[in-house]
Amino acid sequence: MPVNPNAKLVENLFAPDIKQEPTRAGYGEGLKRLGETHPNVVALCADLTGSTMTKKFADAYPNRFIQVGVAEQNLVTVASGMAAAGKIPYIASYTMFCPGRAWEQVRTTICYNDQPVKIAGAHAGVSVGPDGATHQAIEDMAIMRVIPNMQVFAACDAIENRKVTMAIADTGKPAFFRFQREKTPVFTTEETPFEIGKAQVYWEGDGVAIVACGPLVYNALLAARDLEAEGISCMVINNASIKPMDEDVVIAAAKKCGAVVTVEEHQVMGGMGSRVAEILAQQCPVPMEFVGVHDRFGESGEPNQLIEHFGMGVGSIKEAVKSVLARKK
């Protein structure tokens, strides 16, 4: 099995009973741990303390937690002010509302001022499920990565999201990181590398490079395993650092495989895959396919049903691999 041994993924990678945990749990845990080591870390929330998992920090450090009510524009701008006065604010809401609602405030008061505010975007993607399109953020990576100074991350499981939460504390930069509501497989370990600006090869191959982010990395691995049985060799890259993106790994993958499929729970316009395309168009143009949402709104349904419906299931990834292979010279 071509799992990259350096990725230190779990032993039972494809076991049906692999441990499942929502990525948001990693935020709750990471933030609480930061509370212990970083006295200047503070947390703010807009009436979603439980579901964003901010509660762990709020309970442990009530004097360093501010409840702003249902007021995301105020959330963002107050955090900017606290950062200007020496704090490292972590602010949380549903991604749709923050940064969704507060984009210009994020741009001017956080990024233009280059304040180290950390925006935790919970309930990202269509996998939010029954709440429907109003609550399913699928444009957030696009609107955040276009702002100068902003860093953007999308972790693949709860452990990696905890690492993201903690790694951005000391950058001195603004950051946005998105994560999901539903339980998803925990397939990385404590030893799995995560580094800002680095992509990680999880599965080795040379036919098609699948560059994925978020919990869909697991679907990409399932697709690579199935395709291997069909005689198609794939490389799977966890591209959690959307900005800065690891150009070296992306270019090397395109050179080695000669074809790329990107996978994200996001609009394909402007998202992670678009950034990969920007890099490759300049440095190493190869045929590409984009797995993600194609210019549509989400809708109500069960999380997995929606992942399938919007073409992000394992089957859709396999199809994308085959169609990009057909175009490969």
Binding site: G69, V70, A71, T134, S300
Partner: protein, 287 residues
């Protein structure tokens, strides 16, 4: 507005009872969704759709209809159930709430269901849209009224206050908003999360006329809206004092029920039993 007598009140009460039962059944079938807010607003919705609003379920696009904006979209189970009972669609469809392919999206989607004036869910935007409609109606000398329904936690959102200022400035007397004053939001009681009182004084300072009502008394609800229609030169804010979870004594006033459905069929049965038997204290005729 139609004449209100004891017989009509009885009809409204039994319709409200039906809608409460619908809501429990819908939420159980959906397996997710909001319980407290919808149950607390049943009487207001019943009064609106069965007495106050000028509307025609057979012709949802009727040009002269009153416009009703649901700003706090998460309480849509009560909107859907009331619309079904008012003839917009068959009550059978209610059990598709939140399911894939349903017109009854988890938060209302205007493009899916005739009779919805706007899509909502993200809080704080309904009043501004209602203000826009009221301005347009005034420009075109239309007689229809604009109503917007808001949550009290929703008042935290600044967008509301921008709209309140504009409505006051423009003296939009064809606009009435109703605040679901149930004192809860997600993280707790509104006065703990973000104190809102004195709400009346805030609106009066913004040049609104304010009416307090008991949101579970049909005379009070209907008189409140009748009075609102008679106010000239000012927009009107009705503060509807509501009990979250109203009708199911075991969950009333508990903010934990903001966004939880009944956990299983047994709990839903218990809720229905509480509804049908005067808080469960007398035996149900259905038993």
């Amino acid at each position: 507005m139609q004449h209100l007598d004891d017989e009509k009140i009885k009809f409204l009460e039994s319709t409200a009872q039906q809608i409460r039962e619908d809501i429990i059944a819908m939420l159980l079938a959906a397996g997710s969704g909001h319980t407290a807010g919808p149950l607390g607003m049943v009487d207001v919705f019943t009064a609106l759709y069965f007495h106050i609003l000028r509307h025609d379920s057979a012709n949802p696009q009727w040009e002269d209809r009153d416009r009703l904006i649901l700003s706090n979209g998460h309480i849509c189970p009560v909107l859907y159930a009331t619309m079904a009972r008012a003839g917009y669609f068959a009550p059978d469809e209610l059990k598709t709430l939140r399911k894939f392919g349903s017109r009854l999206q988890g938060h209302p989607h205007r493009m899916m269901l005739a009779g919805l004036e706007t899509s909502s869910g993200p809080l704080g935007c309904g009043t501004s849209q209602a203000v826009g409609m009221a301005i347009a109606a005034r420009m075109d000398k239309k007689k229809w009224q604009v109503y917007a329904l808001l949550g009290d936690g929703e008042l935290d959102a600044g967008n509301n206050w921008e709209a309140f200022m504009l409505a006051g400035k423009l003296k939009l007397d064809n606009l009435t908003i109703l605040i679901d004053r149930n004192n809860i939001q997600i993280d707790g009681m509104t006065e703990d999360i973000m104190p809102m009182e004195p709400i009346r004084a805030k609106f009066e300072a913004f040049n609104w006329h304010v009416i307090d009502i008991n949101g579970h008394d049909f005379y009070d609800i209907i008189n409140g809206f009748a009075m609102a229609k008679g106010i000239y030169e000012k927009p009107v804010c009705i503060i509807s004092h509501n009990i979250p979870g109203k009708g199911i004594e075991s969950i009333e006033f508990d903010f934990a029920w903001h966004g939880m459905p009944p956990k299983d069929a047994a709990q839903a049965d218990d809720f229905l039993n509480q509804l049908r038997t005067l808080k469960g204290k007398i035996k149900s005729e259905h038993e």
